[in-house]
């Protein structure tokens, strides 16, 4: 294979600039390894917290006219039970990034510390999940809280830290700047867009959690706008995410 696509980001060397986004096929080592084998330049795990979570009941996913809507509810076995999976995922030799979430900067620091002790190459902070209370985008909508979380993690671990931001804000650049100033090594934009689906025949919201995150074609232009705005304001690398379905669309 030619080296034309080799990319370096936040100190990680990637064979190509594609990365498996957090939340997709990231619950087990074997699954992450399969995505790596399929050609991903790096893989990001499902978000892990300090305690296990069962997530929401089904329906957790529904197709809408312009994409998919999901609200899984951060199911995870806890970061404490993930080291075996990381070792398995690492076997393919591509960088493995552990996504972590918490309900406070203290939580984030502790989860990051446990994750950093594993064989992961970097961490991604989930301050953008649009549908779990007191975490995710509830932190990611405040520049102060994002700065606090990033500072806490950076002072705790010695690994590159990506920060994944939510588009559900008035001005994404002030959040990105706060993350960068607090020591983030890269910014990932965007997480899903807060949305809902209602079935007209039963007059009910389809998702068990009622509100979820929209992914797919509809959000690609939103993601691009966010990447553009963030790129113009911060010096650290920006990872584009959301609505990407093929290489050229």
């Amino acid at each position: 294979m030619s080296n034309r696509l080799v990319t370096e980001i936040a100190g990680l060397k990637l064979a190509n600039p594609t990365m498996l986004a957090a939340g997709i096929l990231g619950m087990s080592g074997a699954s992450l390894k399969r995505v790596a084998e399929a050609g991903a330049g790096a893989v990001i795990t499902k978000s892990m917290g300090l305690k296990s979570r069962v997530g929401y009941s089904n329906p957790t996913l529904v197709q809408v006219d312009c994409g998919l809507l999901n609200a899984m509810g951060l199911p995870n076995p806890s970061v404490h039970h993930f080291s075996e999976e990381i070792s398995e995922a690492k076997k393919e030799g591509v960088p493995v990034i552990i996504s972590v979430y918490g309900f406070s900067s203290k939580d984030f620091g502790e989860a990051a510390k446990v994750a950093a002790e594993m064989d992961a190459d970097a961490l991604e902070l989930n301050v953008s999940c649009p549908h779990v209370e007191r975490t995710g985008s509830e932190i990611g909508q405040s520049p102060q809280l994002v700065a606090e979380v990033v500072e806490k993690v950076k002072s705790t671990v010695n690994k590159p830290v990506f920060v994944k931001l939510t588009p559900n804000v008035v001005d994404i650049t002030e959040i990105a700047e706060a993350a960068a100033k607090a020591g983030a090594d890269a910014i990932t934009v965007i997480n899903t867009v807060r949305a809902m689906a209602i079935d007209v025949e039963t007059t009910r919201p389809v998702l068990a959690n009622k509100v979820g995150g929209l992914s797919g074609p509809a959000i690609k232009p939103i993601a691009l706008r966010c990447v553009y705005e963030v790129y113009r304001k911060v010096k650290i690398p920006v990872v584009g995410c959301g609505g990407v379905t093929t290489w050229n669309l």
Binding site: T60, D65, P77, P217
Partner: protein
């Protein structure tokens, strides 16, 4: 074109056309849906019980006239709510999902345990045209758990039933009976669906007798479309790469198949 914005993935609201009591704990719900009517035996649908849950269910019948059915044992909150549904009420469906069974000719053994029997019945109905001989084996705990005997009997001449307590058919485990058959006759394919320990035993028997094997597996399914990773077993996603796996595929996940599954929170739990 986008692979996932499809008619199959679209949630459809369907009216229940018929409810049939199969046993004291099992009911069949019939509905009409264009996509399901074109399903392959072994495929499943995600069934939405509004306000309660959404659960994966194998199609228990697929008819050319456009009607399909699911056959449901009452085992938890979602299935209990489904059991209370009457003719004329609605549920949501998306799918059919998964690969379904690969149909083969020749001498075929079908082994179903408990409610695992469900996808094997439309399979047998499809195999009748292809196979020279079908032996259909059913294992249940007790007489009251048995269902579909009449339906299977109309398409398959050789139906053998075992119950663990001996209240119907032969007393014992269906795998013990299957072993006896395999020692006497040769088969071109074994199909299995049931408790995972039973499928593991059948897998090992098939291997010992050099017989091709297919089994339909179960894991906790969320998205149904192969993206969330909840139902992973080794490198495979039950919802997308399965639920039917060949003996060769199962060989690759021997460190997981029959040993453990992942709970709703993704943690491993032994069988």
């Amino acid at each position: 074109m986008l692979a996932y914005l499809t008619d199959i993935n679209r949630l459809r609201i369907v009216k229940i056309q018929d409810v049939k009591e199969e046993s004291s704990t099992v009911k069949t719900f019939t509905f009409r849906d264009k996509q399901c009517a074109e399903a392959k035996p072994g495929q499943f649908v995600m069934v939405w019980i509004p306000g309660v849950d959404e659960i994966p269910m194998s199609l228990s019948s697929i008819s050319a006239d456009g009607s399909s059915s699911i056959t449901v044992a009452e085992v938890g909150e979602a299935t209990k709510a489904l059991h209370q549904k009457k003719v004329g009420e609605v549920v949501g469906v998306r799918g059919p999902y998964g690969n379904g069974f690969a149909l083969t000719g020749g001498n075929v053994m079908i082994v179903g345990g408990g409610t695992g029997l469900t996808p094997l019945v439309p399979l047998a109905e499809s195999l009748v045209r292809l196979s020279s001989k079908i032996v259909f084996m059913i294992g249940a705990k007790t007489r009251d758990d048995l269902f579909f005997l009449d339906r299977i009997g109309t398409v398959v001449p050789e139906v053998v039933v075992t119950t663990e307590d001996g209240s119907y058919g032969l007393k014992g485990l269906v795998t013990e009976l299957a072993e006896q058959f395999l020692e006497k006759q040769s088969f071109d394919m074994i199909y299995a669906c049931g408790p995972e320990q039973m499928m593991l035993k059948m897998f090992l028997l098939a291997k010992r007798h050099n017989t091709p094997f297919q089994a339909s597996l179960e894991r906790y399914i969320r998205c149904g479309v192969g993206i969330c990773g909840s139902c992973c077993m080794g490198e495979y996603r039950i919802c997308r790469d399965g639920p039917v796996f060949s003996g060769e595929q199962l060989e690759k996940v021997r460190n997981e198949f029959g040993l453990f599954k992942r709970e709703v929170d993704g943690s491993k739990v032994s069988f």
